[in-house]
Structure formats: C-alpha cells, structure tokens
Symmetry: C2
Subunit: 245 residues, 2 copies
DNA sequence: TCTTGCACCTCACGTTGCGTGAGGACTTAC
DNA sequence: GTAAGTCCTCACGCAACGTGAGGTGCAAGA
C-alpha cells in the first residue's frame, strides 16, 4: 500500500513552501523529486517529503541552502559544530546591528536638540560622530552624551562661539611670538581651560582623546565645526597652563 | 586657484571606497563625476567629493543606496523621519535574529545532553522545538528548559519508555470499553498524572498547552516522539482523573 | 621613439533565495 | 470537447558591489 506521490502544488500547499521554492530546490539539486510523470510533472514520494522536512528544519535555523545540501548529502560537519558556527555568525551580525542602532539612536537624540536639521547638517553630525567613535571608548562616549544632554542648546552655541573667538586669538599670539606666560595669554589660558573642563568633565583621558582626534582629523573636523586647534596650539597652550597660578 | 580634479583611483584611495563602488555609484546615477577627460576617464571635482562624503555618511547609517539618492536629490523625508524608519527596521531585524539565536542556543544546549546526534536527530529536535514554540509562551518554554536540564538523560529515557508503555494500554482499554473508574484504569491514571506533573511542574497552563499541541500537531509529533496521546484519550483520562481518590 | 607598466575604460557574470510573469503543454471535470 | 486549473521551462529582477576579461590611455625609462 504505497501512497500516491504528490505533485508540486499539493506538496506546496501542505508544507507551506512555495512552488517556486520547490522548483528552485530542484534546480540546485537540493531536492530532486524521485519521480516524474511521462509529461515531466514532478512527483514527490514519501522519502522526498521527509527530506523536504529536514530542509525546512535546517532553513528555519537560518542555515543557507548550500550548507543544508552539504549536510544532508553526507555530513561535512557534525551538527554541534554547525550550530556553533552559525551562532558565532549570528552574534557577530547582532553585535554589528546593535552598534548601528546605537549610532542611529544617538543621532536621533542629537537631532531632537536641534530643530529642522537639513540633510547636510545630518551628514556633518554623522561625520563628527564617526570621527569621535574612532578616538573615544564606549564609556567615554556615554559620558559625553550625558553631559551634552544636560547642557542647554543655547550654552552649546555659546561654547562654539567662544572657541571661534579664542582660537584665532591664540593663532595670532603664536604668530606674534607672545610669551605664553604673559598676562594676556594667562587670561586666555584660563578661558581655554574652563571650556575644556566643561566639555571633558575634568577627565584627562577624554582631553587626551580630543587632542589625538584633532591631530588626526583636524582637516575633516575644521569643515564641520569651524575653528579647530592645531597640535602646535596644544603645545603652546600647555606652556601657558604650566604658568597658571 | 582650483584644485586639479581627482581620478577614480585617487579618490578611491583617499576615501577608502573601492573603484568598483564608484563606478557603481556612477552607473546608478548616485554620483556622476562632473567631468570626464576626452578619453573618458572620470574626473571628480570638489563638489563631487562633498557628495561622496555625504553618501558615505548616510551609508554608514545603513541607509540603502536608492534612499540615499532620493535624500540627496531633493529630500523626500525629513532626516528625523528617515532615522526613525531605519531604527524601526533595524529593531525588527535585531529581534528576529535574537529569536533565531535563542533557538540555536536552545538547540545547542539540547545537543549537549545527547551524545553524537545525527543530522536526522537534529531535524527531529528542531521540528519538536518549532511545534512547541507555537503553543507555549516564552516563559513557559523557559520553565520547561530549566526542568529538562535539571533532569538526567537516563530519566528522560525512562519517561519516554513509560509513555510508550502507558499509551497503548489506554488505547487498548478504550477499545475494550473499560470503565475509567475501574481499579485497572485508576492505577494507570495515577502513573499518567505523575508523569504529567513531572513534566509540567504542576502548571495547568502548560498541561493545557501540551494538550492543544498534541491536538494540532499529533501526526507530526508521532513520527518524532513515538507514542502520542489523542484528544479522545485526554477526555477518557479526564474521567479517570475525576474518580481518583 | 618604442616599450613597459600601471591606471583606466566598458561589458558582464556571480552572489542569495526565491518572486513574478511569459508562453505553452497537460489534466481534470463538466 | 472544451474550459479551467495545474504544470512545465525559461528568464529577468533584487542589493551592492567583487571579480575577472579584454581593450585603451598615459607617464617614464631604454
């Protein structure tokens, strides 16, 4: 009492796998029906259905078709290895996507503080963010994010304006060879230091990361942020800081 | 003083974007260099480089090329909407992959309790798992998983053997029209109940889910598990339970 | 000046897992 | 006998390029 074999449509409706998919499996040699009618219609027998169920199981686990094929035709890996490999792949992907989601959320949060950002602004923010991700650790970024949200929008503008005022002054002083210990520069050094401390929260590691970032990405950041200190300014200012009372 | 325009290779090495990608962007009209040499070599000017940076920024956020194109050529969405849409998509994907990872981990844990599982065994386990995921809530599955890991492998075999012994007895009793309250059936009912309680931990919701699962997936599960109770057996046994002292 | 070598060009196929017709043969029920 | 439904085999499409293949342009050394 052998059951009558199934035609594709029937098999498809019973398993929920599309006819096209079954054709595809046949094309790639993953599931070739063991019978055909004289006119060429596919006929699936019991054994084929079993194999299809196996395929479906492995596919549900996210295993690509060619690996499913290798596994079912004389196993290349043990099941345990297989799963480990896939878990590793999956965790990698998840980690990647989580990082992406974090970035997007940071971006969204940032956009909420600014009103009516253009695509251009958006790209600028992204570029600054990507630059920062290269130089700060995750915790440092977290600290900076919290600090930024705790500060008003108006204050952020003030800070930027301050830098745009101070940096040209320093550049000018350097070109005039002004002594960093002079009263003029001491005043500027105090303002500079206050701005840095407000931004870094007094964390010297963050301050160092900022310097490294400006050193490597200065040209890029200048276009996005306006005035940006050069490494020479940092060394010049450090002499001024040393002389601060 | 206009800077000399860049050729593809130069632009590629400076931006880290492959020459092929630049060609591709040209093909799809995303970034068409504004100049060409008479011989057809691409020449990228300042504006092109800016646009490329924008493209790169948006791509870093996982935005597909056609959307990048739409955004840069006369925005369809506001940046904020854009990000929200992508975050939603991303979270969906992450959730999907997390579920997959959970399944795979469950599978791995299960394989660790069995030694030398074949691909066939693997598929069986997967099918039972998928059937169970349809009928149990996540917490219930968690409970079942803990219970399973706390039980020895030998005990699992004993339990399966018990069912394979009890179910035929019940089927036989039903066909002989034995009174469920008879001493013979009362003894079986006590064994049945003990097995159910051991598996469900006494949770009636889990017991109900098991019944529903067997009702809908009986045929499938029978092939995987061996003997499986039918709905008629459950009603028959409930009469036996009612008479238990 | 010729050649060598490198950068550039344009096709065009491969990747993953099918969806979606197009155009034609077969089957089944009335 | 015919109409409707099912089946067949191509074959393109997708996303974002990678990877040659085969041919041209260009700067520099012999």
């Amino acid at each position: 009492m052998t059951l009558p074999p199934w035609k594709v449509g029937e098999l498809a409706s019973r398993t929920g796998i599309s006819v096209r998919a079954l054709h595809h499996y046949d094309e790639i040699g993953l599931l070739t029906p063991s019978l055909r009618t004289p006119s060429g219609h596919r006929l699936y027998q019991q054994a084929d259905v079993v194999r299809l169920q196996q395929i479906q199981s492995l596919r549900l686990m996210g295993i690509p078709l060619d690996e499913v094929k290798q596994l079912l035709d004389g196993a290349v890996m043990s099941p345990r290895e297989l799963i480990d490999v896939h878990l590793a792949r999956l965790h990698e992907q998840i980690a990647l996507q989580n990082r992406l989601a974090e970035r997007l959320q940071g971006l969204a949060a940032h956009l909420d503080t600014v009103e009516a950002a253009s695509i251009d602004d958006l790209c600028h923010i992204i570029q600054v963010m990507t630059a920062m991700e290269k130089y700060f650790t995750t915790e440092q970024l977290e600290v900076l994010r919290e600090r930024r949200t705790s500060v008003s929008d108006a204050r952020l503008h003030e800070v930027r304006d301050s830098w745009n005022e101070i940096i040209p002054k320093v550049r000018d002083a350097m070109s005039r060879d002004v002594d960093p210990t002079s009263p003029e520069m001491q005043a500027i050094a105090r303002r500079w230091k206050a701005l840095v401390e407000e931004f870094t929260g007094g964390d010297p590691k963050i301050a160092q990361a900022v310097r490294t970032m400006y050193e490597h990405e200065g040209a890029q950041l200048k276009q996005k942020l306006g005035e940006v200190p050069t490494p020479e300014m940092f060394t010049y200012m450090s002499r001024a800081f040393a002389a601060l009372t």
